[in-house]
C-alpha cells in the first residue's frame, strides 16, 4: 500500500505531538495544574496514528479514555484540547469533560470515552445512521483489550455482523486492563481470534509499526465502505506508563517496561524514514522540536483561557 512521503512525515509529526502532549500532561499534573486523573498512551502512538490515518475526514470516530494521541491524529485543535485538559471554558467540552471526554461531535469525533467498552454499542447506532442515510462514511470504533471482555463487545460485534454495518473495530491491545494481564484475562492469545465467532475477519498486527496498522485498518475501512461489513483489527502494543495517575506498576516488572520502551514506535518510524532517505536527522529533530513547541503554545493558550462561569453549570444538561 503506497503512502506518499509527505503523509508519512506528517505521521511522524503526529506521533511526536501526541508524545509531547502527554509528557506535558504529566508535567502539569506534577505541578498541580491539573486535577483528577488521566490515562496516558505513551508508547502507543503508532497504533493511534496508523488507525486514524486509515479513515477519511468526516468519517465517525469513537475514541477511548486513553485517547490523547487519537485526538492529535484526528487533527484536533491543540489549543482547545489543552484547554479542555485544564478545564477551561474554551476547551472542546467547555471544561465539562476533561481528559477523558474530549470530543468534536460536529466534526465526527464522537468522543473519548470513560466507560470501558461503553462506546462499542454506540457504533451500532452510528452504523445504522450510515446505512439508513445511504452515506459512504464508515464508523471507526476504538477500544482496549480490557473492553473486549465486556458484554458490550459481544452484543455489538454480533449486531454489526448480522447487519453488515460499516464499522471498523480496532482493539488497542496494550497487554493490561488496568493491572490485569491479558494472559490472566482471557484464555486465547489473540483478541482478533474472537472475530471469527461473529463471522467477521480479524487480524492482529504489530501495533508499534505505524505502516502495518495503517494497512490493516485501511483494508478494514475499504471493506466497510464497500458494504461488506465490519472487521476487527487488533493492534498489539504496550503502554509505558501506569493505567492512570494512581498506578504504582506493582503488577509488572521494570525489565518488561524497559524492553517495550526499546520498541519505541516513534524512534522506529523515524529511523526507517531516515534509512529510506526521505528524511534527514536534522529534519527529524526539527519536526520533534516543532511538535514540542506546539504543545508549549497550547499550554500558554490554555493558561490564559478563562475558567467556565459557574453560573453556566446547567448549560448542556438538556437541549432546549
Amino acid at each position: 500500500m503506497a503512502v506518499d512521503t509527505e503523509t508519512r512525515i506528517d505521521w511522524l509529526r503526529q506521533m511526536y505531538t501526541g508524545r509531547a502532549f502527554e509528557e506535558m500532561a504529566e508535567k502539569l499534573y506534577a505541578l498541580g495544574k491539573i486535577h483528577g486523573t488521566m490515562h496516558l498512551s505513551m508508547g502507543m502512538e503508532a497504533s493511534a496514528v496508523g488507525t486514524i490515518a486509515a479513515v477519511r475526514k468526516g468519517d465517525y470516530i469513537l475514541g477511548t479514555h486513553r485517547g490523547h494521541s487519537q485526538l492529535v491524529a484526528y487533527g484536533a485543535d491543540l489549543n482547545r484540547m489543552m484547554s479542555e485538559f485544564m478545564g477551561k471554558a474554551n476547551g472542546y467540552c467547555r471544561g465539562r469533560g476533561g481528559s477523558m471526554h474530549i470530543a468534536d461531535v460536529p466534526g465526527g469525533y464522537l468522543g473519548a470515552q470513560g466507560i470501558v467498552g461503553g462506546n462499542i454499542p454506540l457504533a451500532i447506532g452510528v452504523g445504522l445512521t450510515i446505512r439508513n442515510t445511504k452515506s459512504d462514511k464508515v464508523c471507526l470504533c476504538l477500544f482496549g483489550d480490557g473492553a473486549s471482555n465486556e458484554g458490550a463487545f459481544h452484543e455489538s460485534l454480533n449486531m454489526a455482523a448480522i447487519w453488515k454495518l460499516p464499522i471498523v473495530f480496532v482493539c488497542e491491545n496494550n497487554q493490561y486492563g488496568m493491572s490485569m494481564s491479558i494472559k490472566n484475562a482471557m484464555a486465547i492469545d489473540k483478541i482478533s481470534d474472537r472475530a471469527s465467532a461473529y463471522g467477521m475477519p480479524g487480524v492482529t498486527v504489530d501495533g508499534n509499526d505505524v505502516m502495518a496498522v495503517y494497512e490493516a485498518v485501511s483494508e478494514a475501512a475499504k471493506r466497510a465502505r464497500a458494504g461488506e461489513g465490519p472487521s476487527l483489527v487488533e493492534n498489539s502494543t504496550y503502554r509505558w506508563r501506569g493505567h492512570s495517575k494512581s498506578d504504582a506498576n506493582r503488577y509488572r516488572t521494570k525489565e518488561e517496561i524497559s524492553e517495550w520502551m526499546k520498541k519505541d514506535p516513534i524512534a522506529r518510524f523515524q529511523k526507517q524514514l531516515i534509512k529510506e532517505g526521505v528524511l534527514t536527522a536534522e529534519e527529524a529533530d526539527k519536526i520533534e522540536a516543532n511538535s514540542y513547541a506546539a504543545i508549549d503554545d497550547a499550554v500558554k493558550f490554555a493558561e490564559e483561557s478563562p475558567e467556565p462561569d459557574v453560573s453556566t453549570i446547567l448549560e448542556g444538561v438538556y437541549a432546549e
Binding site: Y60, G91, Y92, C93, R94, G95, R96, G97, H101, A103, D104, V105, P106, L110, G111, G114, I115, G118, I120, P121, L122, A123, I124, G125, V126, G127, L128, T129, I130, R131, N132, T133, G151, A152, E155, S156, N158, M159, I162, E315, G316, V317, Y318, A319, E320
Partner: protein, 329 residues
C-alpha cells in the same frame, strides 16, 4: 370522536411520525413480523420494512447503544425494551452515555431518542417481568421520563417525545394496553412534556397518582363520591421534568394530599412528590400530613392474591383517602 385502545394510540403515534420524518425508526426485540411481545408494533414492518422496523437479537445493551449512537448522528430512533425490567441490561447506555453525552461534550450535540417499555405488575409474570423502576431514571439528569395513562395522552406524549431533542424514557403501563380505550384524534398532536393533567376535579382531597394508579384512583374517587368525599386527581404524566405548579395549586385548594404509585415505597417517586409539596407554599395549607400509598417493599410475587397485595388496589386507595379526608391520619 373515534376511540382507540392505549396500544393502538401508541402505534398510531409511531406510524404517523415515521411517515412524517424519515429519521424516525423503531428498533427492538421481536417487533417485526411478531409485532412486539404485546403487539404494539404489529403490522408496522409491512409499511416501513426491516430497515426502519429493526428486529434485534436479544441484546438490550446493544439496543441502548443503537438508539444512542444513531441519535447522536442525526436520527430520531425509538427503542423498544420488551419489559422495563430488562432496561436494567441497557442502563449503561441510557445512564452513562445517552444522559451524559450532550453535557459532557460541552453541549455541542443532541441525543434525541425515545426508549419505550411496558411497566408494572398485574399480568402474573412474577418478579422479573413486573417491576416499576421509573424512579431509577428520574434520578438521572439528562433524561426525561414520561408515563401516560390514557390513549389520548399516550399518542400526544409519544409524538412530543419523538420530537423532543433529548433522550426520553417512555413507560407504558402494560395493563392499559388493551383495557384502556378512549377518544383519540386522528390527526397528529403534541402534549408538551412537563405538563400535568387534572384527571378529576374535586375539593376535599388531592390524589397525585402515576401509571396504573391513575385509573384505580379514578375508580376509587367514584366510590368516595358516594360517601360525599370529593377527590381531585392529578396525573403528572411526565415524571421528569415535573409540573410542580399544578400539584402545588391542587394541594393549596384541598389542604390534603395522597400520593399513590405502584413502585416500592422506599426510594420511590412518591418521596420526591412529597418533598416537592413540603418545600412549596402548599405546606402552609396542609391540614394533614402528606400520605404515600405505594407498592410494598417486596419483589412482585407470582400467586394472584399475593401479586395483588403487593401494590395498591382500588379498596386500598379508598381506605387511605377516606382516612385522610376524615382527618384520621
Amino acid at each position: 370522536m373515534r376511540e382507540l385502545t392505549f396500544l393502538e394510540a401508541i402505534r398510531e403515534a409511531m406510524v404517523q411520525e415515521m411517515r412524517r420524518d424519515e429519521r424516525v425508526f423503531l428498533i427492538g426485540e421481536d417487533i417485526g413480523t411478531y409485532g412486539g411481545a404485546f403487539g404494539v408494533s404489529f403490522g408496522m414492518i409491512d409499511e416501513f420494512g426491516p430497515e426502519r422496523v429493526i428486529d434485534t437479537p436479544i441484546s438490550e445493551l446493544g439496543i441502548g447503544g443503537a438508539i444512542t449512537g444513531a441519535a447522536m448522528t442525526g436520527m430520531r430512533p425509538i427503542g423498544e425494551i420488551m419489559f422495563m425490567d430488562f432496561m436494567t441490561l441497557a442502563s449503561d447506555q441510557l445512564v452513562n452515555q445517552a444522559a451524559k453525552l450532550r453535557f459532557m461534550f460541552g453541549g455541542t450535540n443532541k441525543v434525541p431518542f425515545v426508549m419505550r417499555a411496558p411497566i408494572g405488575s398485574g399480568a402474573g409474570a412474577a418478579a422479573q417481568h413486573s417491576q416499576s423502576l421509573e424512579n431509577w431514571y428520574v434520578h438521572v439528569p439528562g433524561l426525561k421520563v414520561v408515563m401516560p395513562t390514557t390513549p389520548y395522552d399516550a399518542k400526544g406524549l409519544l409524538i412530543a417525545s419523538i420530537r423532543d431533542d433529548n433522550p426520553v424514557i417512555f413507560f407504558e403501563p402494560k395493563l392499559l394496553y388493551k383495557k384502556a380505550k378512549g377518544p383519540v384524534p386522528e390527526e397528529m398532536y403534541e402534549i408538551p412534556l412537563g405538563v400535568a393533567d387534572v384527571k378529576r376535579e374535586g375539593k376535599d382531597l388531592s390524589i397525585v397518582a402515576t401509571g396504573m394508579m391513575v385509573p384505580r384512583s379514578l375508580e376509587a374517587a367514584e366510590i368516595l363520591a358516594e360517601e360525599g368525599i370529593d377527590v381531585e386527581i392529578i396525573d403528572p404524566r411526565t415524571l421528569r421534568p415535573l409540573d410542580e405548579e399544578t400539584i402545588v395549586q391542587s394541594v393549596m385548594k384541598t389542604g390534603r394530599v395522597l400520593i399513590v404509585h405502584e413502585a416500592c415505597k422506599t426510594g420511590g417517586y412518591g418521596g420526591e412528590l412529597a418533598a416537592v409539596i413540603a418545600e412549596s407554599q402548599a405546606f402552609d395549607y396542609l391540614d394533614a400530613p402528606i400520605v404515600r400509598l405505594a407498592g410494598k417493599d417486596t419483589p412482585i410475587p407470582y400467586n394472584r392474591n399475593l401479586e395483588a397485595a403487593a401494590v395498591p388496589q382500588v379498596p386500598d386507595i379508598v381506605e387511605e383517602a377516606r382516612k385522610l379526608a376524615k382527618g384520621r391520619v
